[in-house]
Amino acid sequence: MTKRAVCMFCVGAFLSCIIGFIGCTRKAEKATGITVWHWMTDRQDAFNQLAEIYEKEKDIKINFELYAPSGAYTQKVMAAAQTNTLPDIFGILGEKRIFASFIKAGHVADLTEEMDARDGKWRGIFFSKALDVNRFLSGNQFGVEPGIYGVPIDVTNIQVLYNKALFRRAGLDSNRPPSTWKEFIRAGEKLKAAGIPVLVSGWGEIWLIDCFASNYAFNIMGKEKVVATIRGDVPYTDPDWIRVFSIFKEISEKELLAQGVVTMVNKTAEQIFANERAAFAFNGSWCVNVYKGMNPALEYGAIPPPKISDKYPMAIWGGAGSSFMVNVKSEKRENAVEFLRWLTTKKQQVFLAKSTQNLPSNKYSLAEIPPILAEFADDMDRTTHPGILPVAEFPRVIESFNKGIQSIITGEKTPEQIAKEVQKVKDREIKSQRLER
């Protein structure tokens, strides 16, 4: 009987505990100050420090709320948009089309006026490429009112990195990295002969393939023709596009890729390069921070992808890394803008660049960043990004394009076959778009 009494007591205590616990937290305390949603886990510490400084200076509390991984963040923002519960400041992940929808649905403030105020003083501090991603021009295909809708807080670009020590081991001059495709192939073959895997990259995440391919597309056929292709005026079966596809066939047949690159996650690729198991990597400027942690002694340099043609300039994929948007419905819009202005001043940008090793979006803070980051930064003017082109390719075409390249690398299909397949998808998308109108 006593056992039973004890048991009952425990259950009762537990139940009342639950009820009390749930009851006391039912009313979520309304956050004072400005709330910022972001997904950048690795910057949480730096953000919190900045928030502290800001609170001391301006007496306004900034709550940086972190939601990760990015898939969960995307859904959180979408769900909040549906219920009109977005925070004062938030970031948007994904293509420009998604960004456009957020604007058209009336969630994002147009910051053009603030940017242009006082002779464009605020606007002037940014890399122009960083602003382009957040800008909608008049007559854009999404039907968005022209303007600037976001504040870039960092920039990024993707380049080719080479390991100087491995270069020397293979008998190559570590101060003369390849600048043309031919030189790259020659260097690759020498490295391979020395038993060193050549190029590693996270091509299992297909957007990295997309970057590599579009760089060469710009180099081979020029921006105009790429845009014309996206518009539907030039087919993917054009010889120039076949040439782009053939690059992948060539490096695969000559075995200039580290094994397993086609399905590799980029974090694995970074491990491999950091531990000197491959001589080249194709990776973004964020890698500086990654390599620094994994192998502080790693001796490497950053170069633009070796060009294959002299006809057109080589493009580098890049632009704004991450941007913040201001909620148009926020009651604290003025304060939010003021905070973002503060966040992008030189002092704060240098702090962010130093503590997170990302490229600052404020071009005046470049002088104080580490040299390897500067190697990335000096090519910012040559960057391009799907978000700054006047037209956007259909997502399904992009997918079949990149997956097709994977099949070329594995030797399953030829460049010609893939070109036909991609064009078939493109034709279908164009047709269904016409039907919609």
Binding site: F14, I18, F21, I22, T25, R26, A28, E29, W39, M40, T41, D42, R43, Q44, E65, L66, Y67, A68, P69, S70, A72, Y73, Q75, K76, M78, A79, A80, Q82, T83, T85, K267, Q271, A274, N275, G284, W286, C287, N289, V290, G293, M294, N295, P296
Partner: protein
């Protein structure tokens, strides 16, 4: 005669070796990742993928302390234990009631209801995340413990009902009949006879649900915004950035989070085996 005894003995030993060889092989594959995780937790970011030894020369025990403080595990730990307990109790109680009805009681529409529950297991709900948020918003349950708990109880029900129903159906009916003759009501039979007999199956339901709740983070990210309400997995997010992953701290963090669930399993798996004897005593 002597030979055949010897032969029998040899055969027995050979069989024993064969069984254990197989079992140990499988066990090794299961234990290896755990050992790797532990040893990675004791390395530094620079050595985690370059030093492949399982016993690092300079173990960084401080990683565990760092992971605990940097991840802010204190409050998360408490939250996770609370969520796991409440969800598991809720699922076991509600699912076992329903499962017993589906297995033993008669009422119109029984099959339809059962397949309805089963169907919730089948359809992956891609658009449901946003719908769920909208729904909880209307119920004023966003950013509350209650909302997070109820959604998870609901999520565990279908599997629990299906599993327990299978086990209730397999139980011999005579014990229940005896109880009925003794004047036990329907609820009494369920509570005093069926539930104790189903201990192994309930242990399985507890193990499954506890693991799911313990590892849950997507819903937490969607529904909760107060840091003080977040579960343990939120602490781990700090170590795995979009670009930089702090592997040793992440491994240390995972090790910390995995210990309670392993302990829970060690306790619960006893009931899987002990079930039958306990049931016999009740009878």
């Amino acid at each position: 005669m002597k030979d055949s005894v010897l032969f029998y003995k040899i055969e027995k030993i050979l069989g024993w070796i064969r069984d254990h060889f197989f079992l140990i092989l499988v066990s090794l594959s299961c234990v290896f990742p755990l050992v790797w995780m532990l040893s990675s937790a004791l390395k530094t970011q620079a050595t985690v993928f370059s030093d492949m030894s399982l016993f690092p020369a300079h173990p960084q025990w401080g990683n565990f302390y760092l992971a605990w403080t940097k991840g802010g595990f204190g409050i998360y730990f408490f939250n996770s234990i609370f969520y796991t307990l409440t969800v598991v109790i809720g699922v076991v109680f509600i699912a076992s009631l329903a499962a017993y009805a589906f297995a033993r009681l008669e009422f119109p529409g029984k099959n339809i209801f059962f397949y309805l529950f089963l169907a919730t297991l089948m359809i992956p709900l891609p658009g449901a995340f946003i719908a769920l948020y909208v729904l909880l918003m209307k119920l004023h349950l966003v950013n509350t413990r209650l909302g997070y708990i109820l959604i998870q109880i609901n999520g565990g029900l279908a599997l629990g009902i299906f599993l327990l129903k299978t086990f209730f159906e397999r139980m011999p009916r005579d014990l229940e009949d005896a109880a009925r003759i003794d004047g036990c009501g329907k609820f009494g039979i369920y509570w005093r006879v069926a539930l104790p007999l189903a201990k192994p199956a309930i242990a399985v339901v507890v193990i499954f649900n506890a693991l799911t709740v313990w590892n849950e983070y997507l819903l937490a990210m969607l529904l909760l915004s107060n840091k003080s309400l977040m579960p343990l997995q939120r602490g781990l997010m700090i170590f795995q950035g979009a670009h930089v992953t702090q592997y040793p701290l992440l491994m240390a963090g995972i090790t910390i989070t995995v210990i309670p669930i392993v302990l829970m399993y060690i306790v619960m798996q006893k009931y899987i085996i002990a079930g039958i004897t306990a049931g016999a005593v009740t009878g």
